[in-house]
Amino acid sequence: MALIKLDNVSKIYGFGDATTVALDEVSLVIDKGEFVAVMGPSGSGKSTLMNVIGLLDRPSQGRYMLENRSVSRLRSNQSAKIRRDSIGFIFQSFNLLNKLTVIDNVSLPLAYKGISQSKRYKMASNILDRVGIRSREYFYPPQLSGGQAQCVAIARALVNNPKIIIADEPTGNLDSAGSRLVMELLSEIHAMGNTVIFVTHNPELTRYATRVVYMHDGNIIHDENTVIGRVAPRARKVLYTLPVKSIDDDLAGVSALVKAIEPKSSPQKKNKRKRKTVKK
């Protein structure tokens, strides 16, 4: 069953000369229970895609069906409720509220649902237990390690039992141990039947995914199913490392990626598109 269905979705920023096409008529179908890794060089539109799927951002054009319901033109309150009830976000920079305790952070989505405080705390405690960080319930986020903070963020994303978990570079700020912890958690969540979409620059992490989507210049240039436990074949050919330190590194990555997927896509079409400035 198609949980997410994007139909020629575009996202355009700016006007006139300053126009940036962050998403260029992207079509994508994601079924329930998939564990999708999104890869691509910096500025290729991965975050934009996540934000559109997560209803944080509206597409400029195209249709977005979530559970067979058109959500591309929702009013802000309606999309807020869908975010609250159906989507869990995990961000690279954790995005915890530093002035709230761990348990308050985790129960925040429940508060917006109108659930009573005692019930909220019970649910939050349970979920913190599940991600193995219950002992830090009354800590404040600055008192946590990066890995712990991301576990709290994952707990917060899970607490509403959402249909989709969206993680934009969840391991981007973590060392290898932290990354491992977070990816294992996401795997568990996936194993329980949840749909997980995550962005990564690290080809290694594709071994957790069931599917890898490669992006370039706002397009999906390759899309493959993979076997859990093995690095995706195309990703393995991509030599670029994380995080991108310089334009040269990134361009190397891009060319490596483009080379890696050459047989399936048409590079000419891409070349016509004006080159985007790469993020610092």
């Binding site: 934000n51 997560g54 944080l56 951002d57 802000s76 309150n77 807020a80 409720k81 975010r83 609250r84 009830d85 976000f89 995005n95 915890l96 509220l97 002035k99 709230l100 308050d104 129960s107 925040l108 989505p109 508060a111 917006y112 649902k113 109108g114 405080q117 909220r120 917060r156 509403n160």
Partner: protein
């Protein structure tokens, strides 16, 4: 509206705790506004009550005749200006006195003349003492008791007797009970016949001055000033209290005839007297309430500014909250609760401060403010409303932020 789940209140209090000092400055306007509002209304009510108490003591049927303009013989007496809350300068004549006395329905009259004089007693002196000339029935008409001795009688003017106010008795003599002692008024000797009980203190009024005054017979005061003494007030008691209004009219028309149709005098019953006494008070009250309103307005604007700054600083937080599913309205409520908490706490501090000042006033002055529960509740409601009104613009601004833009800002 269904508002404030406990999480919002909690985050409001949290936000509050985290910026204590700035919040204090923000609340200052509300604090000052609320404090001054409560105090001014309380003082004004308290003073009115005190004046009312005095009027009731004197008797509600007494009529007061005053000139519209008085010049006090000797020098101007500022205390008299405040005496009854009216601006007096001008005088009533002996002729007026007899006319009032002879008006139909008038039982008794008491003239009050005032002059300033050099006063020397055995234990002290006043350079410009207040000397009041009046008649023997003064004490009974005003229900004024004596601590020692007797009030003036009909022969007092012939033997130069004086009755002294309670404070004057202390200031001018070296004996505790100076009955029979001699005091010089403008070098003319007078013998002390009685000492008055203290007059009840009334703020803005003359209780304290009367206590320092010397009372001589009206005849003496005329004689000492070569018949130029200033009569600043005539009190008239009607035969029949129920006819007071009619008597008032009679006096008025009688005086009007003798003053050539000029209203350079006023005849007041105690109601009007009270009103004229509180007229200035009311005006001052309104003015200061105006000032506290401005202060509250400034306080509101302060809250608005702090909230605007806070919202800019917390854009990222707003983004996070929206990403987690907060609706515009929930964000709006969060910030409204915050601004309202701010101004409500400001109001509470203002109330406490008003009570402290009230205590200080009671301890160190004659003023006894009357702070009613209604005023407190009103003040708290006003401060809450200010929080809602001035918090709404920033709160709307916060609510309207696009989630993705808010999340991107750092």
């Amino acid at each position: 509206m269904k508002l404030l789940n406990d999480g919002q209140l909690k985050s409001a209090i949290n936000a509050f705790r985290n910026t204590k000092l700035r919040n204090f400055w923000t609340m200052l306007g509300v604090i000052i506004g609320v404090t001054s509002f409560i105090l001014v209304v309380g003082i004004s009510e308290g003073v009115k009550l005190q004046i009312l108490g005095q009027v009731q003591r004197i008797g509600s049927d007494i009529l007061t005749i005053r000139p519209n303009n008085i010049q006090i013989s000797g020098s101007s007496l500022d205390s008299l200006t405040l005496l009854s809350g009216i601006n007096v300068s001008g005088s009533l004549s002996p002729n007026d006195l007899s006319r009032v006395a002879n008006t139909k329905g008038v039982k008794e009259v008491v003239p009050l003349s005032a002059m300033t004089a050099q006063i020397n007693g055995s234990g002290g002196s006043y350079k410009k003492g207040l000397v009041i000339g009046t008649t023997p029935n003064f004490d009974t008409l005003l229900n004024q008791g004596l601590s020692y001795g007797n009030f003036l009688n009909s022969t007092s003017n012939m033997v130069n007797q004086v009755v002294v106010g309670s404070q004057a008795a202390v200031d001018l003599f070296n004996e505790d009970v100076p009955l029979g002692q001699t005091v010089l008024i403008n070098n003319q000797p007078f013998v002390v016949r009685g000492i008055l009980d203290p007059f009840p203190a009334t703020p803005l009024s003359s209780g304290a001055e009367f206590n320092k005054a010397l009372f001589i017979s009206y005849g003496n005061s005329e004689q000492m000033t070569n018949n130029t003494v200033t009569t600043y007030e005539i009190l008239a008691l009607p035969n029949d209290p129920s006819q007071a209004l009619k008597v008032q009219k009679n006096i008025e028309s009688s005086l009007l005839a003798s003053h050539g149709g000029q209203y350079d005098f006023r005849v007041l019953n105690q109601d009007q007297n009270l009103k004229s006494s509180t007229a200035i008070l009311d005006l001052v009250t309104k003015l200061v309430i105006g000032v506290s309103a401005i202060s509250l307005l400034v306080g509101g604007i302060g809250i608005m500014n702090v909230m605007l700054v806070s919202i800019t600083e917390r854009t990222h937080e707003i983004g996070i909250r929206k990403a987690l599913g907060a609706t515009n309205r929930q964000i709006l409520e969060q910030f409204l609760v915050e601004s309202t908490t701010l101004s409500f706490i400001g109001g509470l501090i203002g109330v406490i401060l008003a009570y402290i000042i009230d205590l200080v006033l009671r301890l160190f002055t004659d003023i006894e403010p009357s702070i009613s529960v209604t005023i407190i509740i009103l003040a708290l409601i006003i401060s809450t409303v200010i929080g809602v009104i001035f918090g709404s613009i920033p709160a709307f601004k916060a609510a309207k932020k696009e989630p993705i833009d808010a999340l991107r800002s750092e």
